[in-house]
Structure formats: structure tokens, C-alpha cells
Symmetry: C2
Subunit: 149 residues, 2 copies
DNA sequence: GGCCTGTTGAGACTGCGTCTCATCTGTGTT
DNA sequence: AACACAGATGAGACGCAGTCTCAACAGGCC
């Protein structure tokens, strides 16, 4: 259980490996790595982990700072938390089952460079988020399978 | 005053041109078209427009549906509202002065297509947001002027 | 002017996230 | 193994964005 990459990351960064943190790491892992804060809270309460709201948010904050997790705002306004590797990347979210995948640059860098050149902005940061249906949800859906943007 | 594009859009869509809506349209325009809900609220109150919180949010919701405005989530977690044209596009936000510019596709479409092909997802929607310094903030800033991503 | 329906404001309400503070617990030290 | 201390925690107050309800109001068409 301590081999959890989340626990490892906390340890490496010099954070204490406390009970609540280990419990949350396990919970997060069991969620396939993505969830809303509300879900995590409800589950922690249901399992009687004795972990307070404040601790949950604090831990998520730490994990975000460690780049182990990322907070994503869906177009619906919902906010989800996603486990990810500490490297620049973007997310692909299945709007039916909630599955998320990481995607790399895929040529975006040059698009951003082009925009900076055209507008005169100095671009420091960018976010790209894609939403759609993952392969398995596509399979179980009778609708069109074409790719659009 | 009624020539405001916001008022026009409301009218064209069959919404009533009420006092509160005209007042808000004027306020929004005076903000250079971008602001947080809190700013709009405070200003409406300060100017004693007699416009309630509910009406403000309702109006923003309508304007968003009409694609006259867009809601953007900044990396900081702050949520801003931006006036924009009703066409698919993306936003460039100056992290110092808050200025926003619209940007078109700029080659992003092919990046998205490439990602869809690679992952097997059917991509229905995407968001690209860029953050950095606008030309005038760059000018008044002694720091580096290089373009990075 | 009058009517009808869409719109409004006040304020209750919800829910996320933050903050405070007294208490507790990892963890390095001895 | 016990100690000490800083970091971590939980309970609950708090703040704030956004939603909802509902009675009252006011555009816009007659």
C-alpha cells in the first residue's frame, strides 16, 4: 500500500506520511484517479475514515503542488481532480464515463508559438482540454462515430 | 445606448429588453467586456442600479447561451466572463491587466484531429486557453520578452 | 389602457472551499 | 524507548458563488 505513487511523492517531497494521507492516497487510487471533491468527501465519510473536509482539500492542494494531481474545470462547470504524471500535458475527458487520458503536445507547441507571434503576447501558460467519447463508450453507443471538433 | 451588441442580441433572440438588462449591458460594455461576477455585482450595487444578484446571474446565463459571452476558468481558479463573437474560438488572457483577446483556430483543428486519431476518442468539444502578458504589459515590464509555452 | 407572460428582487438556501485553533502525531534526536 | 517540536489534523465557523422560490412587476402586443 505504501508503494502508492502518491505516498511516494509525498515522502520524496518531505511531507509526513500520516494516516489520513495514506487513507486518501488509497481512496484516490481506487477512483481510477479521477473524481470530484464531493465524491471523495462522501466516500471518506461512508468508509468512516475519520478524515475531515479540511484535510481532504489540504491534501489535494499539496498533491496539486507536487504535480501529482491536476484540477480540471469541465465546460459544465464541474470541477474534477485527475491523477497525472508531473510533466506538461493535456487532458482528454470522456463526457459519458468520466475516464480521462493524458495527451502530449501533439503539435500544439507550434500552434501556441504561431499565436504568440501573431498577437504580440508573451504566452506563459496554456491549457488544452478535450471532451468527447472514449473508445469503449463509442462502441456502446449507436450514434455517429465521426470525428469532429 | 440601444445599439449595444448585447441589447441587439437579446432583442433578436426574442428576449424582452428590460431595464435591468439594458443596465447590465451598459455595465458589461464599460468593463471592456471582461470581469468577474463579483465585480459586476459590486459595481451594480455601487451604482445603485437596483439589479439583484439573481438577475445578474440569469442575464449572464442568457448571454452565454446566446454565445455573446463566455465563462472562462483561469488557472488560479478565478472565473471570469468575457464578451465574444458567436463563433468557435479561443481566448488569450493577460495575466497582469486582465485584457482578453480572441484567437481563431490557428492550426489547432489538425492537432485535435491528430489526437482523436491516436487515442480512438471521438472528440466533441475542446477548449484552449492561453495566459501570458499582452503587448502593452510586456512593454512596461523589464523582464525577459522571449516567447515560451 | 389592459392583459398576459416573461422578468425581477429579496432573501433563503446549497455547496464548495478556506480558515482558525486547540489537539494530536510523525519523525529526528537522544 | 521516551522526548520534543514542528507539521498535520478535525470540528466547525466562515465566506462566497451561484441557485431557487415566490410574490410582485413591467414589457409588448391587443
Amino acid at each position: 500500500m505504501d508503494h502508492s505513487p502518491i505516498v511516494t511523492a509525498l515522502d520524496r517531497a518531505g511531507y509526513r506520511l500520516t494516516g489520513p494521507r495514506r487513507a486518501l492516497a488509497a481512496l484516490i487510487a481506487s477512483h481510477d484517479g479521477h473524481f470530484t471533491a464531493a465524491e471523495l468527501l462522501a466516500e471518506a465519510r461512508a468508509k468512516r475514515l475519520g478524515v475531515g473536509r479540511a484535510t481532504i482539500f489540504r491534501t489535494l492542494e499539496v498533491l496539486e503542488a507536487l504535480e501529482v494531481m491536476e484540477r480540471l474545470d469541465l465546460p459544465s462547470g464541474e470541477r474534477i481532480y485527475v491523477v497525472c504524471k508531473p510533466a506538461h500535458h493535456h487532458h482528454l475527458v470522456c463526457s459519458r464515463c468520466g475516464r480521462t487520458d493524458e495527451i502530449d503536445d501533439a503539435g500544439l507547441r507550434s500552434v501556441v508559438g504561431e499565436i504568440a507571434r501573431r498577437t504580440g503576447y508573451r504566452v506563459d501558460e496554456h491549457r488544452l482540454e478535450l471532451f468527447g467519447l472514449c473508445p469503449s463508450c463509442r462502441a456502446s453507443q449507436p450514434g455517429p462515430t465521426s470525428v469532429s471538433a
